[in-house]
Symmetry: C2
Subunit: 342 residues, 2 copies
DNA sequence: CTGAAAGCGCTAACAT
DNA sequence: ATGTTAGCGCTTTCAG
């Protein structure tokens, strides 16, 4: 199982071994200017020899800087997984580390956030749309906070990919392939679904397809998508769309399943576009064209926003409505979309 | 975005407001015996009034106890997600909290583990089989360590679900349904696949089905499963199995896809069992019978093992081979298995 | 350029 | 039962 902690070497030990004071050793190890040549070498040598690793907790207690970003996420979300990975990378470029916290049976979102605060994070990243607005504002009041994937409120900045642009990309792509009867499979009640639905309408109008606007009930899950597909396939032939844009990949995949079992080929008989570019969409067997929210872009923007807030001066807490950072999503073209059949 | 940290109240502040010493306040806040009645009340009141939250770092620096369990996991694994959730719950029951660390572009497994050690975790939980044996042994030497899902080595205890029992459950279930031609879809090279393959053989023999043992090449991914299915469907009818047990769910799902597209009904035409009871297996549209490694059971055993190691005396570092805790997996019956067709 | 010394916020002996 | 006093391991003035 493992031995009890075998007394880690401390800074004093390194200093002693290097024949300098702890002050000098500390400076050297953090690459601070001051100590020179001889000192640096012997300290580094000693540290390496002893296998020294600074005690993070002691450092931060003394320095009042933790270099920690707290991330509140949902372990079971693949999208969050990608974001976390990207955030870690981005954080690294700013000399920051991540502390992860997740909602579990014993801890709701507020509790998970408190845990992060207890670690004295310098910034908070909230993934996902489930935290209550009031809780968000509260967090924002205690610590620089960014919420990813939705608009910010009050002191909290939102970092998100534009749903309007996302749907524009999807509709453009399909229109270019000759589709006109492009239906949109709606999501669950909420601001994200609203934005996407609106984006769909707008994009259709841009293409002069006002008359073809066709919004069908859907949802978040595979089975919601399956129901939607049944509904659509139940229509008379002429009224069936030639392409479907779904609220998200899961919903698209559920629909795809039913459609294929109906003997309709994809994309020959029907084109499908999902949203999120999630791992299942990328499977060879699924191969779903999808809108990517560009997790790497979101992560970079998030960390940059946060870093700016503690490096520089406090961010202008301007009008409570325009504190968002909006990036563009990307269209990932795969095999589920093709030219409309003659 | 959020305000700069508004000077958290410290223990002194609480003590002062309550009119007691920091020592008393400290004891009260941690629910330690000593202070009584009057003191307790006023301290709690003061703490609540000031919104006091102890500084975790300072506490642990002083107490040399972090009450932290470090967990090294793969963010993109749904199975790990379940384990993390269950671990958190189990940790809570022992008064412990989790620190999560994951492999990313900038940090390999060793780096992620170092990060955990930097947080002064009292115990380490390694999920997943990818950490090198030598690295594992190294970690085990520095901190009580448990590896979940595979056998331990040297000082590291393994906590795992028995693959032998798992395959027994699967074969039993199918045999009870009348199946005899039960094929096993093999996994990738490695100890897990070896154990499952062996379990399959053994279970078949138990049922007197030695002659039916049928191991086909497979893999980890959906597309591996798809290839396997193609191979099996390419056989002459008589030689086709009536049931398939796959190395894991992903592989099972890939196979299922191909089989269904071949016009074969599941389970009427063929029964399928997966392994891991992963979220996709539970989808209504997939509904895959699967072997669950019982994440909750694994988590409980893991935390208990670790907790024992720092509460009690050092664990007997017995023979380096028998340091495993093995639990029983569970069979989760869904719609992908049924009686063999007459 | 380097060392001595004073904390960071808390806990734990040791006194009282 | 409560208060006083050292530290935990590090950073950081401030002298030398």
């Amino acid at each position: 199982m493992g031995s009890p902690p075998p007394a880690r070497p401390r800074l004093v030990d390194v200093a002693q071994a290097a024949g300098v004071s702890t002050a000098t050793a500390s400076l050297v190890l953090r690459g601070r200017p001051g100590p020179s040549g001889a000192a640096r070498e012997s300290v580094h040598a000693a540290a390496a020899r002893l296998g020294y690793r600074p005690d993070r907790n002691a450092s931060l207690l003394a320095a009042r800087r933790t270099h920690l970003l707290g991330v509140l996420f949902d372990v079971s979300s693949p999208f969050h997984a990608e974001l976390v990975t990207a955030l870690d990378e981005a954080a690294g470029e700013h000399g920051l580390d991540l502390v992860l916290s997740t909602v579990t049976g014993r801890r709701d979102e507020a509790g998970a956030a408190d845990l992060l605060l207890d670690f004295r994070c310098e910034g908070l990243v909230i993934l996902g749309p489930t935290l209550k607005r009031s809780a968000l504002v509260d967090l924002g009041g205690r610590c620089p906070t960014v919420v990813v994937g939705r608009s910010g409120t009050g002191p909290v900045t939102g970092v998100l990919a534009s749903d309007r642009v996302g749907l524009e990309l999807a509709v453009d792509h399909l229109a270019r392939l000759g589709h006109r009867q492009i239906a949109y499979v709606d999501g669950p009640p909420g601001s994200i679904a609203t934005a996407r639905r609106r984006g769909y309408r707008q994009a259709m109008r841009h293409h002069g397809l006002d008359g073809e606007i066709d919004i069908v009930a859907g949802g978040v899950t595979e089975s919601a998508g399956a129901s939607t597909a049944h509904a659509v396939l139940g229509r008379p032939r002429r009224q069936r769309p030639t392409a479907l844009i779904a609220y998200n990949d899961r919903c698209a995949i559920g629909a795809r399943d039913v459609i294929m079992r109906h003997g309709i080929e994809i994309p020959e008989g029907l084109s499908i576009i999902g949203y999120d570019d999630s791992p299942p969409a990328r499977l060879g067997t699924v191969d779903l064209t999808s809108i990517s929210q560009d997790p790497v872009g979101l992560a970079r923007a998030t960390v940059a926003t946060l870093a700016r807030s503690f490096d520089g001066e406090a961010v202008a807490q301007g009008s409570s409505r325009h504190t968002d950072v909006v990036i563009s999503p990307r269209l990932v073209i795969r095999g589920s979309t093709g030219p409309v059949s003659a």
